[in-house]
């Protein structure tokens, strides 16, 4: 076991899969010689060459479509979207083409591709470089959606996503990049569709994914000092969703807080609460609670803290349902 940060976990996951399978290639802006805007592909160009680590023009729509086309004939593309906000110009080939090919063609084809998107606030980068758009993709049949919260899961989940025969949207929160975790030297996979309990507790379930898991863990540590034992459920994949782990946690604690960095309406937190309402309502001792961003675009600089959920918001959300 060695400590590794999230950024290298992603790089090594790609490197290992590219070594294992010559059909795997990376495509995106500045991913080649420059090693990526966030350094996620450092060293890969020298190792694999330009056809497997492909720098593109600023043409997200077409290179997303390119990936879908290449996947139709058996390659396994990894698309890097430098800031998730840019994915809006590539929604069409991802959600209308890649996601639907298999179904619309009666199962005659597979579309094995991964779209790695750097998401989230924390850099003060304002309205076009800070968003958490996961819910948009969960809504789309045919796509899988994954959001790791640390280096260990990131490596195992990315490798599993690359081996998956469906289009996977893989979210990488920018604040996670320098965060270190123990990562085994030997190969491992983390299967899609399985949540993890990141902290056990008996009083309340806090459900989160991606960076917000880190915030939830810090909040849980503080809450413990007040005598509230919070269980932190890290979803890891949003689609497919591990319903059982959520339901079992709520059956145990009887209380639910869901944290998301995106605004509330039609967000994934609502989906989790809906699931619990439909399948475990009778276990709830208090109304469930969403802790989300304020319903506004992201402002720049330090102002973003007025918008996105803070540790204190999670704590007061938990206090509210535990009252």
């Amino acid at each position: 076991m060695a400590e590794m940060n999230f950024r290298w976990a992603i790089t090594y996951a790609m490197q290992e899969e590219m070594e294992r399978d010559e059909n795997v290639f990376l495509i995106g802006e500045d991913v080649g010689k420059p090693g990526g805007a966030f350094g996620m592909s450092r060293g890969l160009f020298d190792r694999f060459g330009e056809w497997r680590v492909r720098d593109t023009p600023i043409s997200e729509e077409a290179f997303m479509g390119l990936a879908a086309g290449a996947a139709l004939v058996g390659l396994r593309p990894i698309v890097e979207i430098m800031f998730m906000d840019f994915i809006m110009v590539a929604m069409e080939p991802l959600c209308n083409q890649a996601a639907k090919f298999r179904y619309a063609y009666g199962g005659a084809v597979k579309v094995p591709m991964v779209v790695r998107a750097l998401y989230g606030a924390g850099w003060g980068a304002a309205a076009h470089h800070s968003q958490s758009l996961e819910a948009w993709f969960v809504h789309c049949p045919g796509l899988k959606v994954v959001a790791p919260s640390g280096a260990y899961d990131a490596k195992g989940l990315l490798k599993a996503s690359i081996r998956d025969d469906n289009p996977v949207v893989f979210l990488e929160h920018k604040l996670l990049l320098p965060v270190k975790e123990e990562v085994p030297e030997q190969e491992y996979l983390v299967p899609l569709g399985r949540a993890a309990i990141k902290r056990e507790g008996s009083d309340v379930s806090i459900v989160a994914w991606g960076w917000q898991v880190q915030e939830a863990l810090r909040a849980a540590a503080q809450l413990a000092e007040e005598g509230i034992q919070a269980e932190v459920v890290d979803l890891r994949s949003l689609s497919p969703l591990d319903e059982e782990t959520i339901l079992n946690s709520v059956r145990k604690t009887g209380r639910l807080v869901v944290v998301q960095e995106a605004p509330a309406p039609c967000g994934f937190a609502s989906e989790v609460i809906c699931l619990v309402s439909e399948k475990a309502m009778e276990y709830l001792d208090a109304p469930p609670k969403r802790v989300t961003a304020f319903f506004a675009p992201m402002p720049s600089g330090p102002l973003e803290k007025y918008i996105i959920p803070q540790q204190d918001d999670i704590i007061s959300g938990v206090q509210e349902v535990c009252r």
Partner: protein, 321 residues
């Protein structure tokens, strides 16, 4: 290099042309009779362009079709029974009856990527061409689309990348003069669509799309270029759709005289006369071809009509691999 067109090849082209025409007429009929569950975007009148393109491709080459491209699909070798069953919405169809006319795929024939969003077939073709070069293959991809698609951003992005990486891709544009209800000079800023290729350093060829062998030769030349590693070509096949945008569109946006003018340039009698003149075709052979085409279509329709509709359970599969 121009292809030597043998007598057999010419007769095959003629047969495909008649087949494509009769098939579009059939679909128009059964659509009017209310026998089809979905739309028909008829290629009536513009079959020669697609037939030439599809017939020029070799078995291993790829065709990425759009929504009005049955002639190229049939000429590439798509099974008429499975195609017809799909259009009739039957479970035996190429897409199990759930794709309809616009989501037609036949991986065995290397026909992939069609869909209902104009312009989006182009980057799919780009990706297949990328995969070919990635693997060091010799195949070629032909993307068959309308002139309206050249107004999408993704078309231009794709042209740029195809040229940049010298991909084995043929942009085959059937300029049928209308995008839905809008005439080409109302929606394209240049007189010849093919000039758009010059912005990307791609050769742009204009060809009479109602002349099957002229179009065939233009495609052959583009294929040679692609196979030699010299990258993409843009071909504008100039043609005209006789029917409305969809079956049932009264097409009031154009004059009957205009349609009649174009009908005078119908590819079929032109090609027939040419072949008769060369002594390749005669009245008996013409009748024989027509009869065999009719049989083939009847067989396909029978297969489609006798096939079952998908059940609910059969409709809920294949969302994920």
């Amino acid at each position: 290099m121009a292809r030597e067109l043998t007598k057999e090849k010419l007769l095959e082209l003629y047969r495909l042309l008649v087949l494509a025409r009769e098939y579009e007429l059939l679909l128009s009929d059964v659509s009017k009779q209310g026998k089809l569950p979905g739309w028909i975007h008829s290629a009536l009148g513009q079959e020669a362009a697609g037939v030439a393109a599809g017939a020029c491709l070799e078995r291993d080459d790829y065709l990425v079709p759009a929504h009005r491209t049955r002639p190229s699909q049939i000429a590439k070798g798509m099974d008429l029974k499975l195609l017809t069953a799909e259009i009739y919405g039957k479970v035996t169809g190429l897409s199990k009856g759930r794709g309809g006319e616009m989501h037609i795929c036949d991986p065995g024939c290397r026909i992939l990527g069609s869909g209902g969003i104009v312009g989006q077939v182009v980057p799919i073709a780009l990706g297949i061409a990328y995969a070919i070069k990635y693997r060091g293959g010799k195949e070629v991809v032909l993307c068959d689309f309308g002139e309206g698609a050249t107004n999408t951003g993704v078309f231009h992005e794709s042209m740029n990348m195809a040229a940049l990486w010298r991909l084995p891709l043929i942009f085959f544009c059937e300029n049928n003069q209308y995008a839905e209800f809008t005439r080409v000079d109302h929606h394209i800023s240049v007189k010849d669509v093919a000039t758009r290729a010059s912005a990307y350093g791609i050769p742009g060829t204009i060809v009479d799309g109602n002349h099957v062998t002229a179009t065939y030769q233009a495609v052959a030349e583009a294929m040679d270029r692609a196979r030699a590693g010299d990258g993409p070509t843009f071909i504008e096949a100039v043609t005209y759709r006789w029917s409305g945008h969809f079956e049932g569109d009264p097409a009031k946006y154009r004059s009957p005289e205009e349609v009649e003018e174009w009908k005078k340039r119908d590819a079929i009698p032109r090609f027939r006369d040419e072949l008769v003149h060369k002594g390749i075709l005669n009245d008996d052979l013409v009748r024989e071809i027509e009869a065999s085409v009719k049989r083939q279509i009847e067989e396909a329709v029978r297969f489609a009509e006798q096939s079952p509709l998908p059940t609910m359970a059969q409709t809920l599969t294949d969302v994920y691999a």
